[in-house]
Subunit: 627 residues, 2 copies
């Protein structure tokens, strides 16, 4: 088999590959993260690269324009080398093109109300000295002292720790610092240190999302977040959504390992940066709490996610035991425990439990709706008396997936937008005030609302045939509305929304609304019963509630009922990290929630079809729009 040198620009990274390895794989090997939304099928067209030198074979996919073909563009996943190559990877094809936006630390109310009783802590103890009339062994003596200090009954010590204890106790004249780690069901005496002047110690609150990963470095004594970092989940090179990840994991050789390594690499890079930027040793990071959807948790823990994808969609595990950092591969203190917040079902994971925990949905009298729309759409409805959860296959449209001009809420994304009714011109604002390069979820909602209001599209999302305007034209996918022309855009390309895109978005919003209605129907409750609606995730950040209601995505409730909570997944992880009580409550919460599988019976389908209109077939559900 022939082997070739591939040089990537502008990174100046080189790899030496065999002739059957495609350029997407070669880039991954070189450590360059190229978008691979479809998982290398050649259908998403996002892994565009430019061949600068050398001979190659590439399959035509129709995903490249004539100009691009002329400029040497190929899809990396469809291209193999026939000689040494020089390949340029444009910014737009990279996963790491922008930093993941992190919210300012606005710790949720529930968190600040909780006193700090972290899953890992250090305490100072003084032991009574042994004597000839007191033959108690060192470990029992230590346990007694810890018990007296903390009230904790069920204490264990691993054998590795035992060995050093007798020496330290005597050297320090029975005054020592003891590290305690909570391990669900018992507390581990994790270490015994000399004296009472101990080093600071930290924990991690982690959100493992399908697309992005966020890590908070938390001072476990004060409960304060010292720093936070986010990045892409490097699993994205194996596909954008959960299904393509599961397919890769179960059908490719070493697929599981690929995915596990990718998420670990993402996490360990963030951890290493957090540690070095804050001048702390990774060995003083002593606990990690992770929240993620069920598939992400399976892949992180190395558990086969195969049956999540196959009817009846059964996860291997919803409530994983804590595991040692060394065993799972997280590069913090080797003996640190890593705890994943329990999930509810295959498509309602620990990230949702985490969010439900943050908003305290199980402690309020008010009937509350919790919505987290990300790559999928997950919802919880209920209050202290009952709780129901469901996942509607909303798809990633509101994260920009499947929408030509769609993107996540990153620099240059149009996040708010107004269509001027008479001119059909557009007023917009972008994230970071940069030149526009695409439209993120909130912008897409505004755009549909505006296009509908202006009469550009009808209630089904179809373009009006009797409108002529320079912004409305026929594109590759049929009629489209030009939001920003290439002269004004940040990437030299038109930003336009086509009828195909709009239908996609309507399907997404219809699925969300149908999910809400199906849960209510199951409980035989009217939509007005909902007293509070809490929106989580990057999607909700700059959303216009008014526009979201007007397109029929969200229930027609008073604006005061709406609240935005941000990344509730990482917030819940932090809450659990800092409170044993919260951890116990999270387990109870996950167990208590009734999962509603929407694919059973006809309720959801009926609701979905009715919701494929702007805002809905049943206008009585949206009384404010008729006023």
């Amino acid at each position: 088999m022939q082997k070739f040198n591939i040089s990537f620009l502008p990174d100046k990274k080189k790899v030496f590959i065999t002739e059957e390895v495609n350029l997407l794989q070669a880039a991954a090997e070189a450590g360059i993260l190229v978008k691979g939304s479809c998982g290398g099928d050649g259908t998403c067209g996002r892994c565009k690269v430019i061949i600068k030198e050398g001979n190659y074979t590439t399959k035509q996919t129709g995903k490249l324009t004539k100009e691009q073909l002329a400029g040497g563009y190929v899809l990396a996943c469809q291209t193999t080398a026939e000689s040494d190559l020089v390949v340029e990877v444009p910014e737009a094809s990279r996963l790491s093109e922008h930093q993941v936006l992190l919210e300012e630390e606005t710790v949720g109310e529930a968190v600040s109300q909780t006193s700090v009783d972290p899953l890992f802590k250090k305490i100072k103890v003084e032991l009574p000295e042994p004597s000839l009339t007191d033959s108690m062994d060192d470990i029992e003596r230590l346990k007694m002292a810890v018990r007296k200090e903390t009230g904790i009954e069920n204490l264990r010590v691993s054998l590795n720790t035992v060995s050093n204890i007798p020496g330290i106790l005597r050297k320090e004249k029975w005054k020592v610092t003891v590290s305690l780690a909570d391990v669900l069901g018992y507390t581990e005496i994790a270490a015994v240190e000399s004296g009472w002047d101990y080093q600071k110690y930290y924990g991690l609150a982690i959100d493992i999302g399908t697309t992005t990963i966020v890590v908070n470095l938390v001072d476990l004594e004060s409960g304060q977040t010292i720093a936070q970092k986010g990045s892409y989940n490097q699993q994205a090179v194996y596909g954008d959504d959960i299904i393509s990840r599961i397919v890769h994991a179960t059908e490719e050789k070493n697929g599981m390992e690929d995915l596990r390594n990718a998420v670990l690499k993402s996490l360990n890079e963030l951890i290493s940066q957090l540690a070095s930027e804050n001048h702390i040793d990774i060995n003083v990071i002593n606990y990690a709490v992770c929240a993620g959807n069920t598939t992400m948790v399976h892949l992180f823990l190395g558990i086969d996610p195969k049956y999540i994808r196959l009817e009846p969609y059964t996860p291997a595990i919803n409530i994983p035991e804590p595991i040692r950092a060394e065993e799972v591969g997280l590069q913090i203190c080797k003996t640190a425990w890593v705890y994943c917040i329990p999930g509810i079902a295959s498509y309602v994971g620990g990230d949702i439990t985490s969010g439900a925990q943050v908003i305290g949905i199980d402690k309020t009298e008010k009937v509350t709706l919790f919505i987290d729309v990300g790559t999928n759409g997950e919802m919880v409805l209920g209050n202290q008396d009952w709780l129901m959860a469901c996942a509607c296959s909303a798809g990633p449209a509101f994260e920009g997936g499947g929408i030509k001009c769609g993107m996540r809420a990153m620099r240059g994304a149009i996040e708010r937008l107004d269509v001027i009714s008479d001119t059909l011109d557009v007023e917009y604002s972008t994230v970071g005030g940069a030149k526009p390069v695409g439209v993120c979820g909130s912008g897409l909602i505004d755009c549909i609302a505006g296009m509908h209001k202006a009469g550009i599209i009808d209630r089904t999302g179809q373009f009006s045939s009797n409108l002529t305007n320079q912004r409305i034209r026929n594109g590759d996918d049929g009629p489209e509305y030009v939001i920003v022309s290439k002269e004004n855009s940040g990437n030299g390309q038109d930003i336009a929304l086509s009828e195909v895109d709009i239908k996609n978005l309507i399907r997404s919003k219809g699925a969300v609304f149908a999910g809400i209605r199906t849960m209510l129907r199951k409980m035989d409750l009217p939509i007005e019963i909902i007293e509070e609606i809490i929106i989580a995730g990057g999607f909700g950040r700059h959303i216009s509630i008014k526009d979201a209601i007007s397109i029929g995505l969200l229930p027609d409730a008073e604006f005061e009922k709406y609240k935005y909570i941000g990344n509730s997944s990482v917030k819940g992880a932090k809450m659990v990290l800092l409170s044993k009580t919260a951890r116990d409550e999270a387990v109870q919460l996950a167990t208590k929630m009734t999962y509603l599988e929407l694919s059973i019976g006809n309720d959801f389908m009926d609701e979905y079809v009715s919701a494929l209109f702007i805002p809905h077939t049943d206008m009585t559900l949206f009384p404010s729009l008729s006023e």
Copy 2:
């Protein structure tokens, strides 16, 4: 530094050593176990070897006769090479000269009364299939089925096991065999196997003694012992008693590792033999329960025993957690759990808890005395209402330690003996009916009783000055009594008991009796209160109760009150292996026993001094002897 080849005969084993390595160390390196009772100090004189060829340096110790010196004998521990050497190791200097005698399997009553509910078992379960209306994850589904079958609430599954479960469940149509391991506080789902035709599975009951190690291979389903094996504890090359082992562990470089490796080697050799002789794979040995004294357990688990030896004699740990076989180094199924029965104090260990458990001392109304005289003398006194334990430094005299002609109850040991009053001749029987080579504990007791009765020694153990007989002579250590002359012995040497030996034995028996009396005094009870006396250990096997009473070793009680229990340490280990209830009770038992430290106050010293007579200064304690 110079290096030399040392060849050992008749083993034909060679090692290449540097000039400063002594021949005792060289032999150990060659895998030849030479007796090293004193730990290489040159004081016990047991490591005699014969230099056949080559030049060497040796220190004179006075431990070799002129004939031996002329024959090329040296003490291995005092000798280093100056050229290549050929060294013969005589049988008598070897630790493995005889097989350790094992008792016939006479499972204690308490064991046979207990139904088999082992710490590891396999059960057949059938799970309800998941459906769209039943989103429970596989692990919770499995736990529910196990709970239904067994009633066990607290179930855990380690992550390594989780990964295979979804596949097996579906392949086997939800009918599987589940392995359950009890881990003190929770039950682990250790494995899930295909179908219901499972392989047999086994456990080990282990007694780790200072001198010998016994391993029982137990069928965990039937509760039957399949086979048992015993051998020397290879730690013996580092010294005979606990103190010299602790000194080696704490003062020699790699001392801890030496001792840990030695005991593991002993254990793993026995296990490997048991497995191959019984045609089973070591991987189907799924649980091990060990009983041993506190120092043995520390060394086995790799815990520093330093403070056991230093006042106030505090062990690092009395109640160790179960540990994985792989972690501890036991070569059975890697994930098998190894559980050590809890001890009470530095000199009353898990072997005593184990014995106390077997005799059910905590369940009887009768005031019971449990005596285990081995390398040390440990006793438990009490009943269901109160329990007290103590260790008297009896020393290893009754195991042959410190007695010139003393030996353990192995082939050729004189085990019973009568002194004919008028001729002072001796009638005896030996273990295995072989020619005599020494005297074991029961023989030594008989001998002192007989010598005293015949007037050879007085009540203090001193030789009578007005007796002349060919058997009484002046030896190297003063007056001695020849039991068997070299013409009739099995090793061509006289077997004789000197006054020094007798004083040694009186000190030992005095310590045991004083221990019993001190416990009684603590409770303010007379000696007659004792209703049952149970003797454990090889020492008690052929003991004459009559003679033991007559020298004042054992209390003057009716013979019917005495009972011999054999190796109660390994019996208790088996009992615990086969019953969770017994395991829980063993923990309670260890916690419940009050440890009496004999070195405090003057009670023990007073009693000890009073007991340094045959039978005692206070003859009212031995009414049957005055009749």
